[in-house]
Symmetry: C2
């Protein structure tokens, strides 16, 4: 549970616009640390091309950016850290001061953004509100190795969780992962690009059902399929 | 599929003993690169205490090391990289030279060992052959953040996949993940220690069924439960 909330909150914060217009458009260096205090944080958007992106990822990125021109799709920015005000719900309802020390929090980074350019998760997500679909373009770098030459199953699960979670968030608000069920069909070669296509299948009360598949760029190879269930958070109730 | 094979092959290699006795017992620096060529690789075992391990992890480590004294349990070493000869099966049967370039392979690191000490996955696994059980002691560092203050669901999935995969490997040989089904029940605070208890439930032909739970050190909090299916590799058949 709560698996994808951070990424979602980061995105929501970004979509609402950064406080005081402090976000930099490029990939400028970030301050080394942030804390849960009210200090200012400069946000850098990592879901834009960098020199490590290969030709496939750049081509797909351009194709989806074209789809964004008429507003039917939108690109979701993502960050390593977010300003304290964006995570107030977590501080109030979920974070137990006994469990989480301020000192430890000063080093935190979003898992999927914790590698240097090209070594780990390179990705960008696009969302269609009309279709309730989230597409993630993902290039897994050499630090994500599982079987020799292939992406680790946990790294694939991470990107699936992030994508379906973001889909549920965009459709339903702040949610938590309750279940993730993945069928692995073929190994994904390191440094190749795959597309994770997710869609909201149904909503039952506070439950959001999202499914996805992971395919090659030419859509000829199905690497994985997954289903997931998310629960909409009740901010009046602590979950820890 | 194939999600956990690398970790398993690394472990198998280690259990059989390093070639030429070149493995260093401590946490000495590694050469920066390795390739699939026949170059020598110095292995460093990462599943031993380092200064980032907190009190809980050290205490549990000592407890399990005591269990190892009579041979009923054994500690599994793990490495960032392995010598080329240990992955010959993958090179022969799974790695397609068209897909995986030698140049990219020179940078690869096992996903779960690709962070500096304390920042990412700190863990050690212990196996009981009599009980067909694998226990992983896991401390998730600040670079594994998902929801603010908590471990990312993908990082939890990664450690679950690694643990159940290792359990299947030790019981059945080189296997691949076919399914991973995780129920997330409570968020895991960053920098805390959890125990992942896995066991082989049954074997049907080439299918290995493994289940696990993720609990707090005092066993009072159940964080997650998971089931998985692994398929024993048929080395005569390419899977890509």
């Amino acid at each position: 549970m709560l698996r994808s909330c951070a990424a979602r909150l980061r995105t929501l914060g970004a979509l609402r616009g950064p406080p005081g217009g402090r976000r930099l458009p490029g990939r400028e260096p970030l301050p080394a640390l942030r804390s849960f205090s009210s200090e200012e944080v400069i946000l850098k958007d990592y879901s834009v091309p960098n020199p490590s992106w290969n030709k496939d990822l750049r081509l797909l990125f351009d194709q989806f950016m074209k789809k964004c021109e008429d507003g039917s799709w939108k690109r979701l920015p993502s960050y390593k850290r977010i300003p304290a005000e964006k995570i107030q719900d977590f501080k109030t309802h979920l974070l137990d001061p006994k469990l989480v020390k301020e000192e430890q929090m000063s080093q935190t980074q979003l898992f999927t953004r914790s590698f240097d350019d090209g070594l780990g998760f390179e990705y960008v997500m696009f969302y269609s509100d009309v279709e309730k679909r989230m597409v993630c373009l993902f290039q897994g770098g050499p630090y994500l190795e599982g079987p020799p030459g292939f992406v680790h199953g946990g790294a694939i699960a991470t990107m699936i969780d992030s994508t379906v979670g973001m889909c549920a968030l965009m459709a339903g608000g702040v949610v938590m992962t309750a279940n993730l069920n993945i069928n692995y069909k073929r190994p994904i070669p390191l440094c190749s690009v795959v597309m994770i296509n997710s869609q909201l299948d149904k909503v039952e009360g506070r439950k959001f059902f999202v499914s996805c598949n992971v395919q090659s760029v030419d859509e000829q190879t199905l690497y994985s399929e997954a289903t997931s269930i998310f629960i909409k958070l009740n901010p009046a109730k602590s979950l820890t």
